[in-house]
Symmetry: C2
Subunit: 298 residues, 2 copies
């Protein structure tokens, strides 16, 4: 599978500490070595970095671990390919523009036979198409198509209070096809869903000294944050030794704005599907490679 | 104004040499200090780096000058704001997905009162909206809307032989509004248009030793390239001391694939508009800042 990392704060903060531990999972402390990526929102802008190299070996990841880009919302991903061969176009985050905002998405899980019907008119059928070959990007494109159809009459972007229930509804449909753990943002809110595994850590004053799980690195977070600061860190598996990491429920859809949870809905019918075995995944990727070679030979 | 840099090759090549000279124009050898960006195509994927700092001072630009990302198509930009305040969302390249491809765009020039009519149905009127406030991104969005309207019946991306004449036609309309020097790509071809200033350099075996104009750096390009390699470098102003830089004609629209020019059309009616004076630009940006402050105060 893959791993996710997200951060939402009420003030701009650097994610270098968390990212240092997270990047190690891209090949050193875990085997999510099929590429990585990270997106930082800054005002209405969004900068996304991708690399198809293992994060634990990547010079770009090393650069970013030491380069404090301050942001209120960050999403990151380390990949272990299940569907879609390793390669740049299959690295998350995926990004699309809708109504003048950048929408960014990272996913871990596996969606089998994901072929839902598009509910909108034929005219817009080719909006938001995948560039790569992952189930993740396909799901993201379908989610954006459904979202844009639900708000087809809008010229300006809706706010999170309207988007949250719409996204919860769309998410429930996708989650029927497999594990659909994801993070999603448009720069206003951070949307998170758990099918199988996701954890949240809320931090506020007084900030602790925290130690990373994946590296022998500790940080006095009180020295970096002011009294009014608040943030939430979301990660597939806890990144630090702090006791207050909370495990999401299966089917939980939560929304964060300004470092606080503003919306939560749990769908008790959501399944936490079993992940494919390494043997199944290897076989499936081998079939993809063979198919690509056949196309290339023509 | 801004400056543009592009590269198209028949094999993957690193642009570190050209980018070293180009980045210097972002604040050291020229005053294009309002941010920069660069996009590299790798297979169907595209990685875009942006920074709102001057390229000549940017740690990220310094990292990329020394980090050889190999690509067949690269587009880069250093910004001097004319319309749209300095800020991340106003840094080029701009990127949009259409029919499962990443379209990337960089522009230099100034488009006054750019308000063309959209030629397609109301249903798709909100496709490809700007995220920032530049004339450049607005023009790119309009170009993509017109292109997607012309090929509205397609489920798969057209090739350059169909896209080139369509883009030449769309370009002529935009170029009536001001200087519209640009580079555009979808990873298959590199499209280039000149209203006022753009230069091209074609390189093939035997490759020369070249010296950058902006830095005391020379490189024996023969040591880096094989006999069958060919490439074209496009730049607002020549980057090296090589004699074979060719100045585009006003109204020239050229398309490059595999390091060679495959399509060329010159519209003799295109005007090379006078650029706004620094005083006019400063006044216009001051008005934008004041307007932003008024909105923030409400």
């Amino acid at each position: 599978m893959c791993q996710l990392l997200g951060m939402n704060c009420n003030g701009s903060a650097a994610i270098t500490f968390s990212f240092t531990g997270f990047a190690a999972r891209g090949g050193r402390t875990a085997d999510h070595a099929d590429g990585w990526g990270i997106a930082y929102y800054q005002g209405s802008g969004c900068r996304v970095f991708h690399d198809d190299q293992p994060a634990s070996d990547s010079k770009l990841a090393a650069f970013l671990s030491d380069y404090p880009i301050k942001s209120k919302i960050v999403l990151a991903h380390v990949r272990k390919a299940t569907q879609g061969l390793p390669g740049l176009s299959n690295c998350h985050p995926f990004i699309r523009e809708w109504l003048g905002q950048s929408w960014v998405f990272v996913h871990n899980g596996d969606l089998k036979n994901f072929q839902p019907e598009a509910s909108f008119s034929v005219t817009c059928n080719h909006r938001f198409l995948p560039i790569g070959t992952t189930d993740s990007e396909k799901a993201f494109c379908w989610l954006m198509q459904e979202l844009s159809a639900k708000f087809a009459d809008r010229a300006a972007p809706p706010h999170w209070d309207e988007l949250a229930p719409a996204l919860a509804e769309i998410t429930e449909i996708v989650a029927r096809y497999g594990n659909f753990n994801f993070l999603l943002s448009n720069g206003e809110a951070l949307y998170a869903h758990c099918s199988s595994t996701l954890h949240a850590l809320e931090r506020a004053h007084p900030f602790p000294t925290a130690k990373l799980v994946d590296c022998d690195v500790s940080m006095d977070l009180g020295a970096l944050n002011a009294e009014g600061d608040r943030m939430v860190i979301l990660a597939t598996e806890p990144l630090t030794d702090e006791a207050s990491w909370r495990k999401f429920e299966t089917g939980e859809f939560s929304v964060y704005v300004g470092g606080a949870c503003v919306f939560q809905h749990v769908n008790n019918k959501t399944r936490a599907f079993a992940m494919p075995t390494p043997e199944c995944t290897a076989q499936s990727l081998a079939l993809e490679r063979a198919a690509e070679l056949m196309v290339a030979d023509r």
